[in-house]
Symmetry: C2
Subunit: 309 residues, 2 copies
């Protein structure tokens, strides 16, 4: 199975309102709730592609209970979340029906105790024994050491399980030192990590910091991959209109699926970019549009990049 780690899981709540006006009162016309956090989203996409997936990380309190109840309703995803005494966070996305704009409110995560972090590390090591790949996804809740991802990446490498890291800020800066097999930053994370806004230079720099492969997601410009086997750009067919929520998580799911199926890099990138684009096109935030995905698979342009100076 593929293992995804979400240390800062969330219950993602979406409110639809006609238009958000600060300092006024709104009747919410529609409420939706789903289990969230990057690794949970990645798992949902992998399961939809037919992969066996296990989700681990932390869950606690009333919101944690709701999260696990909802997760149990997702076919193909196994729940191996570790209980904590704190309360899992909620995120509230307020979607304006008129403009389509989204206002995001993210609660802080629960504080993780020392014993809880140790319990997680043990559970993680046990789960690695039957994992074909592992993805370390998203932010760290308070109480988890900032070097957590470096340590989890090393444990995975010691167990012979390829590891993908998708995070930001200090967790990314420290995590890359754990030498993950694949790093998946977006343009902003890449610039923050390397100080460079030039994608090829920054991607190469990120790789030199410890990652085996860096796949930089550049939004409408697709992805740029610097791998031990070569460099490629993969670009969706045209500018896509839709909701980019979850597009990065679908990209990660595509990269993991291609990794465990041992596809050559150009095929992995095609799949990942098609999934990501099909997520932008889906009417439901974070889900992918399957017919669009099938169709996009034949329309992603992959080109080899020449060696830079």
């Amino acid at each position: 199975m593929i293992l995804t780690v979400t240390l800062n899981t969330a219950l993602d709540i979406t409110y639809r309102v006609p238009a958000l006006r600060p300092h006024t009162s709104h009747r919410v016309s529609e409420v939706t709730e789903r289990p969230g956090g990057k690794g949970v989203n990645v798992a949902r996409v992998l399961a939809a592609l037919g992969h066996e997936v296990t989700v681990t990380g932390f869950a606690g309190g009333t919101t944690g209970r709701v999260l696990r109840d909802r997760l149990a309703e997702v076919p193909g995803v196994l729940d191996a979340l570790v209980p904590v005494s704190g309360t899992t966070r909620r995120t509230v996305a307020v979607v304006d029906e008129r403009s389509g704009g989204t206002t995001q409110l993210n609660e802080p995560g629960p504080v993780i105790g020392h014993a809880e972090w140790s319990a997680f590390q043990e559970a993680y090591e046990d789960l690695l024994a039957s994992a074909s790949a592992v993805a370390l996804c998203g932010s760290l809740p308070p109480g988890v050491p900032v070097g957590a991802y470096a340590s989890l990446a090393r444990t995975a490498r010691a167990a012979g399980v390829p590891v993908l890291l998708d995070t930001s800020g200090a967790a990314l800066r420290r995590g890359v030192a754990g030498r993950p097999d694949v790093l998946k930053p977006n343009a902003e994370e890449l610039a923050e990590l390397t100080g460079s806004h030039e994608p090829l230079r920054a991607t190469q720099d990120a790789r030199r910091r410890g990652a085996g492969t860096v796949v930089a997601s550049l939004g409408p410009q697709g992805v740029l991959a610097v791998t031990p086997e070569g460099r490629w750009r993969a670009v969706p067919p045209a500018h896509l209109h839709g909701n980019p929520t979850g597009a990065g998580d679908s990209l990660v799911a595509g990269l993991l699926a291609g990794l465990v199926e041992r596809l050559p890099w150009p095929d992995r990138l095609t799949r990942a970019v098609a999934l990501s684009a099909a997520t932008v096109l889906s009417p439901v935030a974070g889900e992918f549009d399957r017919p669009a995905y099938e169709e996009l698979l034949g329309r992603v342009a992959v080109t080899a990049e020449a060696n830079a100076a």
Copy 2:
């Protein structure tokens, strides 16, 4: 005991953010949760004043469970909520730390089934047997007939229990026909009910529609009461700076406390206005500042109103 009815209970969530900017992402710096809905707020104030209070209405789903857990932590309040299959709503108040402004997001309530409404009416009638007064508070959830408050007021009157009504819109328009002993509209509700923006005229008109007494809450201008024993204005000492959230619910609590203690109207109004003002002054939304309350009791100005033409 005093009975308060909240058909559309809520879990009130407050998020503090530096400043709410539509279509951007925010980290919430502080999350607070408490059981809410007007009748629940009224009950909390009554209990703090030393009265025995029972809360009824509906609660269901995960949010209903959290609401009841939180309610159990409030000393002096008895939970007699009726379970429903739907999920109790949440409200989210987003408070700007910089400006102090509040943006309110209210989920719709659960749809109440016919059998659930019948079960409530039975429970309500049983509770009236030991009630010294009842308050019917707030909006009606979907599925409850718009004439619900008129019917509940009639049941209370038949049981010899004085009844106060505090609601708005169609529920108010229809509810007043049930001849509640006390009606507590604010200026906006009064204008909506009567079509008049002139407080004395509108208050008299509201009384003619069926209420025994009308106590109109006019914000910083205090209250105007038209009762069978006379007319009074009661005004707090000065313009109060603070958060008006819950000031109306504290006013209702003061009126109920004065009613069951059979205080003369001027004393009831003094108490109600002092409580309401002490709620505006409290640093915690919806709580009252007890020292301020004690001090304000001596500083509310009550004046008899001459008969209007």
